[in-house]
Symmetry: C2
Subunit: 548 residues, 2 copies
Amino acid sequence: MPITKEWQALIDQKLNDRASRIFPAWRLPHDLTEHVRPDASVSAFELLRKTTILSSKEIEITETYSAENLIRILATREITSMEVTTAFCKRTAIAQQLTNCLTEIFFEQALQRAKELDEYIVKKGRPMGPFHGLPISLKDSFMVEGQAATLGFISFLKKPNATKNSFLVDILLEGGAVLYAKTNVPQTLFTCESYNRLFGTTMNPHNLSLTAGGSSSGEGALIGIRGSILGVGADMGGSIRVPSLCNGTYGFKPTANRVPFGGQQDFIRKGWPGVLPAAGPLAHYASDLTFFVRSVLLAKPWLKDSTALAVPWREVPKKARLTIGVFLNDPMFPVFPPISRALQSAADKLKKAGHEVIPVNAPPILTGVTGAVRSFILDTEDTVSKYLAEAGEEPVECVRQMNLAALLGQSGVSLDDMWRFVAEREDYREDWGKIWRENQIDVLLCPGSRGTAVPHDKYGIPVYTLLWNFLDFPASVIPYERANKALDTEVIDGCKLPYYDPTLTLTDCILVNIDEVDGAPCHVQIVGWQFQDEEVLSATETIADVLN
Amino acid sequence: MPITKEWQALIDQKLNDRASRIFPAWRLPHDLTEHVRPDASVSAFELLRKTTILSSKEIEITETYSAENLIRILATREITSMEVTTAFCKRTAIAQQLTNCLTEIFFEQALQRAKELDEYIVKKGRPMGPFHGLPISLKDSFMVEGQAATLGFISFLKKPNATKNSFLVDILLEGGAVLYAKTNVPQTLFTCESYNRLFGTTMNPHNLSLTAGGSSSGEGALIGIRGSILGVGADMGGSIRVPSLCNGTYGFKPTANRVPFGGQQDFIRKGWPGVLPAAGPLAHYASDLTFFVRSVLLAKPWLKDSTALAVPWREVPKKARLTIGVFLNDPMFPVFPPISRALQSAADKLKKAGHEVIPVNAPPILTGVTGAVRSFILDTEDTVSKYLAEAGEEPVECVRQMNLAALLGQSGVSLDDMWRFVAEREDYREDWGKIWRENQIDVLLCPGSRGTAVPHDKYGIPVYTLLWNFLDFPASVIPYERANKALDTEVIDGCKLPYYDPTLTLTDCILVNIDEVDGAPCHVQIVGWQFQDEEVLSATETIADVLN
């Protein structure tokens, strides 16, 4: 079914409106933008360095601070929110033109808000709250009064703009944040890609030909290129961590419903009984992940959002010596040389720094992956397909390929699948419980994916993040090292490069050559037990200090 | 299908074994036990006062202390565990003969354990842990190494005795507790009655003709008559709170999986996706509920039991002035005069004591009840009926009557019922969220049942406790006042006494005359938001101080 003229007109109107929201002075010349294509092996950082739109002060503001530090000097009035907001809006305008990372742009409102905050702090003599004056970017799913939330579904263009903020958005605004843009997602939000038929492809700033990951694709790209210093995503299978590891940022998926998830644009059928999604931050520093989660929880989100858990923030003392379980590879899903090298190097450095590093005998991640997938097929109404069909939108290749029922070797679904899902999760949690108990580990160090960002539409199922959603365990991603074609030459399991294993049905769209990903950011993933968000954040800071 | 001779022989053997475990010197004379019948309107307390088995010291030990106080003097060695254990074993032996509250009796092991604890404290100069020397009773579902756990199912007589303790049992033992008896449950554990075909009827010590409630029936009766100072039950619809309110004890149902639930005797099909059960304490003092939960959580149960939530105990400051929402009655389920009077009196006293008491406009409790019931029909395998059928055991009347699917007006069940269950719970939580937010209440004061304990097999569906299981909200019961036929003469909704409303299909086995329940304990229920167990316990102590 093709897109009708009526829908196409709505799409054109939306894209024109989006383009118009970038002030003329912030538009890039054609000789830069002509290089911007999803098949161009080009660095957006290099293109950015060729513009003169950003002043040196603006480059300093956007490149050299942590969110916390910026808030500190905003609080002392060494800098104004207007300066900071202008710098990030400008850089975001450039990011949009280089990576196509945005869905909604509201710079004018942001600058007005910054002005009000600057007046507030002068008048009251104190900041409005923990986020005073700081621009924060949001995944498109978050509702911001007056703004659309299409989630890349063409049919959602007919939905009215938000009349109410998501609960988290209210908390950020009450805390003094400046909101200025919302960011792109992949079609259906159920893949780790960056393309939808409404807004097109979000590109990875490190290399436009690579995916920005998903589903918080635009957050990953925007924060990657420092158009944002702190952003909010949501993660049900890796949707915060995959964009983080693809774009070289930090990211944290909390235990579900600690950071309030309520009041987002609905796209999952009501009553969803499966793996719970979690909202969480992406940032440039581990300490900013902690700062975000702590500040949000100190606002007691459960007093606003009845879906948020009334589990208050706990201050945990920083451990001088962590006990870190290390799990480098599941033989069924071989980890590719750049990530293996990063993990091994991280483990070595941590040991040298005095931490206890214990290799653990991990249970098969396939069990966790199939358990999670079992819940993804529970929607007998196939709600997401309906949203596509409403506007005659065809599923894209990677959505079409994702026949989850077939992955499980079944054709239908029944109530018994729900029982199986719960039973398998209980067993798998106990499998990991043994690992935690026997080794008395604080956290686990493991891959967040088999490789780095891959060329568009080749990410496949995010096996190394998804299992932690199945278990509802908090997990962060730390950027560390980069793919290096001179170093990452190891042959895996008898397969030469490209890294391709045709026996892996769960991942058979992965077909990547080291040349294609040379220079892409590598990472490690840090995982903790459910509800030990505070311990994971603290360990992430400690480990990041050792690594970076 | 009748019980075969083979099964009957096993039953007889079990009952003989149980009887043999009461030392001859602790056996009651026939002129007392001849009064013990489930249809006798007789007080077990009065029968107990006629025995001379307990010394005055033993009466003092069992009647005048809180668990915490007893532990305090055990720690200073003013008293030995042997003395305390002997006193409670003796009184429990009497309780068993008067109320039939026990399933497993292991006094010998208890006395041996007490001796070891007495030696321990002398040798080490300190108590073993927070429960040092204290006898604690357990619902039959908890596994104690070497003991059976039949749950009143005849077919479970063929199961081997426990080879491993439940995780909570390990925590109690590591904390220095003395275990001495396990307590009776109703057939299937899915009713609030006290009868099963293996052990028979547990009777209410206040009046043997009244139910002891269920499903922690034996705990209620045993603690009610002070054969136990602190016991552990489990609650999925009211199974801690109903026995508490029937027998005049305190009881607390925590948020599910804070007190570790794992390692109990299985009787629910694996993978249960519905309302979560919770383990929790019954006691004689509000402060002992807190003491129990705090002590268990300080042992970090999640390090043992992978189903226990890693949400540590929080110390919360005691509020001098509570904001208490009050909800006296749902017109669809009229609360009977004794409980209405107790609630109104409690609200008045609390107001006089300086607390803010706010009447709230509660959403219909029917919504919570049907939501929970929707989850109870999800077992397509009807596992519990299989356990009955295995030994040819017929369902008792109140189990047979409980056609839950019919209550919901449906004949079958499908995966969509699971979605509906989750969706209804989300909506209902938000309905209550509005109440909590608009009134900024700390806790809610409300009925825990329509009436007091009722004659056997007339309790019906525990509507006023079940809705809080649906929401997974922590809730306690405080004993307060007693039914009084001189005072409780009010006519409800046009029905004269007996309190019977034939329009209420959910409760149509309730048919009670005030004469039958005269003198039975009344109560109030205190409810808090999910995960605010600490706040509920603290408020329960404060409110109990005002009331009693």
